[in-house]
């Protein structure tokens, strides 16, 4: 009886594990091994270099670490600007207000749009000569702020980060909304009868119950934003002069540009390890915060 029960349990995860082993684990092992070789992706022979690639990444590849910092910056903007915006919007739409469904549809348009369109439109808005942003700044009498937003090393990264957040807040909005919807209305009713005001119920009911969702969104945001690259290709292709480079672009450059497949794999492994560490810390920190809060 016990055995049957345990076997049943394993059956639940069997399909997932099978697919995972075949389509992720095996390629992963292949790539992992390859990180220790120097290979151009074409020749049948590979040169074993052991930890040489990793040494190079840590000691010499300055651009790699620049790309990591820059991706970190974009992620920071996403964690703050994007997610706060998403939460506020979710709160607004959770209430009984008119045109709720309309707003819900609108906010999901940016994620649905292809990066091609988003890149083109924002390039046009931010263009230095004929862009809309500069045009409006001029109209508002703030013409001295005009510049070539995507070509100016001081503003390029921030602009990319903001556009990225704009494209992504729809997801956070969706998940926050789903979370808010599963909070039983009765709790709010009970609190109101007890005399609590809006701010009070927000603090005592909404926040604690949304905490795990916020952790979830936080982790997904970090993972998703650190790995972003398609939008960046569409807007600046990592320029000007490396100012909007991100790790995945560097990996692609190693694979295709310099034909150093093994090195690209090593970069990928390093990246993954760092992301794992960051997520782990994130998870632990949020658990700690939650237990002290409660």
């Amino acid at each position: 009886m016990r055995l049957k029960s345990t076997l049943e349990n394993y059956l639940f995860i069997l399909p997932a594990v099978t697919i995972f082993i075949i389509f992720y684990l095996i390629p992963f092992i292949w790539v992992f091994k390859l990180g220790m070789y120097e290979w151009d992706g074409i020749m049948p022979t590979k040169v074993f270099v052991g930890l040489g690639n990793f040494k190079e990444i840590f000691l010499e590849d300055k651009i790699w670490w620049q790309s990591m910092t820059q991706a970190g910056y974009i992620t920071l903007i996403a964690l703050t600007f994007q997610n706060v915006l998403a939460f506020l919007l979710a709160l607004s739409c959770d209430r009984e207000i008119r045109m709720k469904n309309f707003y819900r549809l609108m906010f999901f348009i940016p994620p649905v749009l292809s990066e091609v369109v988003v890149g083109l439109v924002w390039q046009w808005i931010l263009d230095g000569n004929y862009g809309l942003l500069n045009h409006w700044l001029g109209q508002l009498g703030l013409g001295h702020l005009s510049r070539s937003w995507l070509s100016d090393p001081r503003t390029a990264l921030t602009c990319v980060a903001i556009v990225h957040s704009w494209k992504g807040f729809g997801w956070g909005f969706l998940i926050f909304l789903a979370g808010l919807q599963t909070i039983p209305r009765e709790l709010y009713e009970a609190a109101r009868i007890d005399g609590a005001n809006a701010w009070h119920s927000f603090k005592k009911i909404t926040l604690p119950l949304m905490a795990p969702v916020a952790v979830l969104v936080g982790i997904l945001t970090v993972l998703g934003t650190m790995q972003a690259f398609i939008l960046i290709i569409a807007m600046t292709d990592g320029g000007p002069a490396y100012h909007t480079q991100v790790p995945v672009l560097r990996i692609l450059a190693s694979m295709r540009g310099s034909s150093r497949f093994g090195y690209a794999c090593a970069q990928g492994i390093t990246f993954g390890a760092i992301l794992m560490a960051v997520s782990f810390i994130q998870y632990r920190l949020s658990n700690k915060m939650r237990s002290t809060y409660n």
């Binding site: 074409i42 049948p44 070509s151 090393p153 600046t236 000007p240 002069a241 490396y242 295709r256 310099s258």
Partner: protein, 440 residues
Amino acid sequence: MFKVRKSFGLTQLLFIGFLISLAGCSRQPAVNPQEKATITVWHWMTDREPALQELARRYEEKSGVKVNFELYAPSDAYAQKVRTAAQGGSLPDIFSILGEKVDFASFIKAGYILDLTPYMEENNGEWKNEFFAKALAVNEFSPSNKYGVNAGFYGVPIDIMTIKMLYNKDLFRKLGLNPDMPPVTFTEFLEIGRKAKQAQIQGLVSGWGEAWMIGCLANNYAFNIMGETKVLATIRGEVPYTDPDWIKVLGLFKEMQDSGLLASGVVTMVNKTAEQLFANGRAVFAFNGSWCVNVYKAMNPNLEYAAMLPPAASDKFPVSIWGGAGSSFMVNAKSEKKEEAVKFLKWLTDLDQQAYLAQMTSNLPANKYALSKVSAILGQLAGDMERATHPNIWDISESPRVLEIFNKGIQSIIIGEKTPEQVAEETQRMKEKEMARKSG
């Protein structure tokens, strides 16, 4: 309700999925011995797909051999597919290597590419002589090449292209300049730039967001200032990038920026945007390749423009332009239909077919005899072919990492972040590292 609907849909879809997968399995290529050979060609040239399909039809009529052109675009994805297929052992009969010559060399050494030299040389080099020497040179490895490849021809060009300066005749008139007398010296060039800036017109646009285009112009001027020999010597490591001639090359970009010649935002500009701006008459100069003819025609058929050489910064050596390298096809060495494939390529590069392609898609033909059948502006772009050069025809190529530092360094110079001397130093440092890595 949700439950019932879901299980219904679920069963249906699983069943359909199962059927399709069965169908997919059985759609694996079955060899029919009675049919004449079918050649499969993988290409990425979306613009030419209709023309190529038409040519395939004509060839089948003439020879009975079916040619399957399969389009996989864009070119990045195509390159990825070719590499993956090579690893998986399923390359088609004819395909192309998009990329650097060093990748081409790797493919040859790995045994994927057929040596076409015997076909080129037979009948006193009949096939070989149809082509512009520079076009063929891209697919050729000379006896002294440093890639470790046996000398010979390994690919067939089907078009050529050149990268030159273009200028807008209308804007020239507006600035009070003679539209038939483009600038010949660098000083004149800068002067026009200043004039344009004063008149608040954008000067030079180009896709310099894509670093290689910067590298192209820089290389043109490098040849102009120090000559081909010294440039190649630098690549071999015999001359440092900190040499004053190189600093002069880098300095040219600073001068262009300071004079107001460069359009704002040129450093992150994609070529498509540059083409748009030039086609809409918003920039005086464009640095672009011969494919632009088609593009400008579609965007603005009334555009009045002409081609010119990059204005010379020095009179010691002639200015060079990049040219010769267009699209090429290679034959799979492991294909069972090698002979048919070669025959087809011979036909494809013949006069009539080349002329057809040139007319349909405004690309420059690789067959030099077809040049008489192209339009005037294309003729201007194809002229100066004897000055043309291209990294893919040199015996040695610079490491991509050095090139990246160099080209992105120029971006830094343009935005005022670094000086030419700094960029030269950084490039030289990476160069030394790369040389150590290659020998170590």
